[in-house]
Symmetry: C2
Subunit: 666 residues, 2 copies
């Protein structure tokens, strides 16, 4: 291994806590760390077989071809792990959509949706025979599936989908059609040129009646030749901001016939004669949506850990300007403005991961209750997943850009891996529920809860709506994390109550409920966000206080500093809300600012240690600026030299265009 940059080494030497102890905590135990490391070893074991030209130099088509090549290597290893019994639902999540998926196949994978959506859909919506028929082939990748719901003209409003599946009792088949341009399926990953099967979501028509949207297994391509089947119009949707290796596709269906048993029939059936037998419980589908949104929260943590690692290490290596005339140039991390840009990302990684874990636990608890027929906590869980997905993706996108910009010009280089990371993160603000739409769903739950606040027993995450109003809950401001949490609770409660009040006023003035909702929606979105901030901050605070009781003194201290940083940072960001809701004066705010500056200084010596603890291997980080050894400039040059443009000293356009132009001939 090359020599580590001296500045970076010095940072490591002065780290006050045991890095391995923190890594173990992040992983969830020494066994989990070992498991992760083994998984990483396996999944990177064939990295030498991957294509040598960095993806950023390839054309759109080459990126796809590269992704297929790399994906079969990666998923071949996943299949091997499956065969050896080394996958469970938990690490499956990590393998497919987490850190690893995005290292071997940096910009997404055309096989991702097969694992994340195709198989789970059959598992959740297929009956036993269907599962027996399809899952084994899908599991060992004899068939590759995609999941086609979104259309060119419809994303958010699923009820408005235009694709139809009409039952024909004479042949016992469904006939699928995309009757308009806007009904073309658009976006599904792997659909373009990779998948040969697909779940298609369509409006079911039987006996002349529309029964709403249902899922159908449709074969797209011949298993031998991969040629599209008759009636299938299919292709790539084109280049995107990111995720260019995902092979997002479009799909037109022209009288495509499939047998009756290819409608997924676990919860609903069309009998041979076309009789529609309804599902008992339509809410069961929420489970899958919640699951995906929890996975997204963990994705965000992974991406943010990467960005923070890159920006912090670079800021230790990069020296620029003199703090004092005549002194050597200083590490840019010594600038307080730089600390202000970076350290919140470190704290947010922990805050979001811990809140995600909590949501994950709740998800399992509620799923078990569901099995027993108890649906009480489902609305709460759904509301929680909605706002947490929205806030975690929006925050992470902002943090990642902040990290990228903090790396100056070099952060703009693809080889820093920050642009790609941003592309992946910002996509999550839109997919699986657009953020504003999701926050309004949370708001709907909060409004309903608020309207019953005095009569109904509140579920845990909204209990504060009652307690904040109790006498003695809040007396006067003090600069403590506890008080900030209380303040945030009051802010959220007031935003919710004031939204409800405004809506009622509008309705009383003659507006329809829907118009009043729309007119109040800016406030409602803000209320849902405020609620989410309460959840994240209080969970982070409580969990860190709980778990660190068994930590070494040094690590406990640092973790508590991170909680403080997170709380104070957000208190200052939302100071306008606090000023409107609680008694906080100029002097308090001034002290809050000073407190913030102090925590930055305290965290400064441990910044590199804190990102080292994320324990991201160089071959997964894939960043010239962030590698463990800090050889920033050497790596930048090495990567530049891989540019195919540099293979020739003179590009052929000189003779063809430039020279004639310079001679005035063009």
């Amino acid at each position: 291994m090359a020599k580590v940059n001296a500045d970076l080494q010095r940072e490591r030497n002065k780290c006050t806590f045991n890095i391995a102890e923190l890594t173990t905590f992040i992983d969830g135990g020494t066994d989990k760390t070992a498991e992760r490391k083994e998984r990483e070893n396996i999944l990177t074991s064939r990295n030498t077989e991957l294509s040598p030209v960095p993806e950023e130099y390839l054309s759109h088509k080459e990126k796809y071809e590269n992704a297929v090549r790399n994906s079969v290597v990666l998923f071949g290893l996943v299949r091997k792990m499956q065969e050896e019994g080394k996958t469970s639902v938990t690490n499956y999540r990590d393998v497919v959509s987490g850190l690893l998926g995005s290292s071997t196949t940096r910009d997404g994978s055309p096989l991702g949706l097969h694992y994340i959506m195709f198989m789970p859909a059959i598992l959740n919506q297929g009956n036993e025979e269907q599962q027996a028929q399809w899952l084994p082939r899908a599991w060992n990748c004899s068939i590759i599936g995609s999941y086609a719901q979104t259309e060119l003209g419809h994303g958010t409003f699923i009820r408005g989908l235009e694709t139809t599946a009409t039952y024909d009792p004479s042949t016992k088949e469904f006939v699928l059609n995309t009757p308009t341009l806007t009904s073309y399926k658009w976006w599904p990953g792997g659909l373009g040129h990779t998948a040969n099967y697909c779940i298609v979501v369509a409006q079911l028509y039987t006996k002349g009646q529309c029964q709403g949207i249902h899922s159908f297994i449709v074969q797209l391509r011949d298993e031998e030749t991969h040629e599209p089947l008759p009636g299938i119009k299919i292709g790539d949707i084109g280049a995107k901001l990111g995720l260019n290796a995902v092979n997002n596709g479009f799909l037109g269906l022209d009288n495509v016939r499939i047998p009756r048993n290819q409608m997924l029939m676990k919860h609903v059936q069309v009998l041979e004669d076309g009789t529609y037998v309804k599902s008992k419980n339509s809410k069961l589908n929420y489970g899958a949506m919640v699951f995906v949104r929890v996975v997204i929260v963990f994705d965000m943590v992974n991406y943010l850990s990467k960005a923070a690692t890159i920006a912090v290490r670079y800021s230790a290596v990069r020296r620029q300007c003199q703090l004092k005339e005549g002194q050597p140039e200083c590490q840019i991390m010594d600038y307080v403005t730089q600390q202000h840009k970076l350290f919140i990302s470190i704290a947010a990684c922990h805050a979001l991961r811990i809140t995600g874990n909590k949501l994950w636990e709740t998800f399992y608890a509620v799923t078990e209750e569901l099995g027993g027929g108890n649906l009480d906590r489902l609305p709460e869980l759904h509301a929680l997943a909605c706002c947490l997905k929205a806030v975690s993706t929006a925050d992470t996108a902002a943090y990642v850009e902040r990290c990228r910009l903090a790396c100056g010009g070099h952060g703009y280089m693809h080889s820093s891996n920050l642009p790609l990371t941003y592309g992946l993160v910002t996509a999550a603000c839109t997919y699986e529920g657009e953020n504003t739409v999701l926050l309004l769903q949370t708001a709907r739950f909060l409004v309903k809860t608020w309207q019953g606040v005095d009569n109904v027993k509140l579920t845990p995450t909204v209990e504060y709506l009652k307690t904040t109003r109790a006498r003695g809950f809040y007396d006067k401001w003090e600069n403590s994390v506890e008080c900030i949490i209380k303040g945030f609770q009051i802010v959220a409660m007031r935003k919710i109550s004031s939204s409800v009040e405004n809506m009622q006023k509008r309705i009383a003035a003659g507006m329809s409920l829907e118009d009043a909702w729309n007119m109040t929606s800016i406030q409602l979105v803000a209320a849902a966000e405020a609620h989410c901030r309460v959840i994240i901050l209080s969970t982070f605070y409580e969990e860190i206080n709980r778990v660190t009781s068994t930590f070494s003194h040094e690590l406990r201290l640092v973790m508590l500093q991170l909680v403080e940083l997170y709380a104070v940072y957000w208190a200052l960001e939302k100071i306008g809300d606090l000023l409107q809701s609680v008694s906080i004066d100029d002097k308090d705010i001034k002290k809050l600012g000073e407190w913030y500056e102090e925590i930055l200084l305290k965290l400064r010596p441990n910044a590199v240690g804190l990102v080292d603890a994320f324990d991201i291997r160089d071959d997964m980080l894939q960043s010239t600026l962030g590698a463990y050894d800090g050889r920033v400039y050497e790596r930048l040059m090495e990567e530049a030299l891989k540019s195919p443009l540099n293979a020739q000293p003179v590009n052929e356009t000189f003779q063809k265009y430039l020279k004639p132009f310079m001679q005035g001939k063009l």
Copy 2:
């Protein structure tokens, strides 16, 4: 021309003002509109010769080759305009770095720096003989130049540049060297494979003494063969988030000798014997920096106009969800949250353009004063340009992303042109002075001004620092634009005064000035930003009130609504600052929110008209979502079909990788 989308046509029908009247105002007069249109006609006249495959499908190398091909077409037309006397400094700015430059050569041009930096540097820093020698050849592109200042290890801190130019009196030459890896020049546009000459900024050594940084004209490549000359190591720095057609390059110099008269000697000289003759006025260089920063503000306006046009038109065409059960799906622009996302961008285009114009005027006035030896207003101008560049780029980046995200999934498609636009805009946050660094420069001026506030006559843009403290300046809050401006002035004044106070406290406690500055820098940055918001808002307000007195009643009404929107939007964004600085209570804030919602509703019917008035041709907008006819879905599909991946129904990776993998053989 294809039929216009019915929803979009309906929007146009209900527009209350005369669109052409607004366009004329934006251009600056009917003659200017005509001039712009003629220029656009000329510069797009050879568009059919441009390469047919959309840039986003090309490899990094192909993007460069495509850019050279397109650039010689574009700049051939520019040269023709020059020959016909159709360029002046004003439209030159538009031609090279504005709207047009980014349409024909969407992702930047390798010839851009030749016009923006190489020629101006010779003009500003070269003596008469040097100008006579070099400018004619540069002007008609017989030589192509770049400008190499930034190094791998140095950007912000110019004094720290490591490249050396050592005068050798025996041969009357300078010997140029990049003695370390970190001293390699890195970033200059066109440097990689395009330019054959370059201005190199280096530390001048003569008679054994370092005289600081100076500029040198260095030949890089043979004029006939384009081969790099001996001692020149040169190439492409690799792929970036955006600007991939710019051909940013690196440059290493190994004992490269140039004649003495290739040091630019307008302000400074090295005599034949090596004697160094100093410049009389080193501040003269500020002029060029200010110029570039003003140009950047106008660039931002152009990009933002594009993004707003795209997002607003798409939001009129896109229908999604029902506001009321049973009704048809509604245009997404009818959602108040969508209006909240979009309309601020329209207002900001005008606010920033008008402030940019003002800065431009000031720039000319001060430049004239400089000619007369009066340097009084230079520090103010410099401070203004710094903060305006920082705030306009940061705001525009945020607005553009907001527009992109408001277009949902389709905004993530490259064919929307929103991802590329963001890539170009966010780059400006870093180049020509990193934003935080620039805000701290403005802060330095503000602190100095504050310290002399009672003794010195204040320059116009900071006069409010005195007036805000006068008795009767502010009594009580009222919800008006005037009061918001006053509020912002008090906020800025208080932020500056409190920063100074905190610094003094720290110094009194024994801290060095530099450490106190660093510890206070988060506040200082906020103070500079607050100052800039005062300038933008008050300029926008005053100018619109002034000029609209001759407008038609309908247009005047709409323009005043935009000023209100801008003021209220930013008042609500900075409500925490206002609460800390002026007497504004809960009821005021509530009313402010209602006011904001009302303006959104008022602007809603004119939204499409407002972006139509930006008058951006389809071939310059280059967006599937934003074209004038609103054929969104048709264009999305048409662009997708151009993907080279769609040329074959089965990609060759199926036989090579996918099939063997599916059969378990890989």
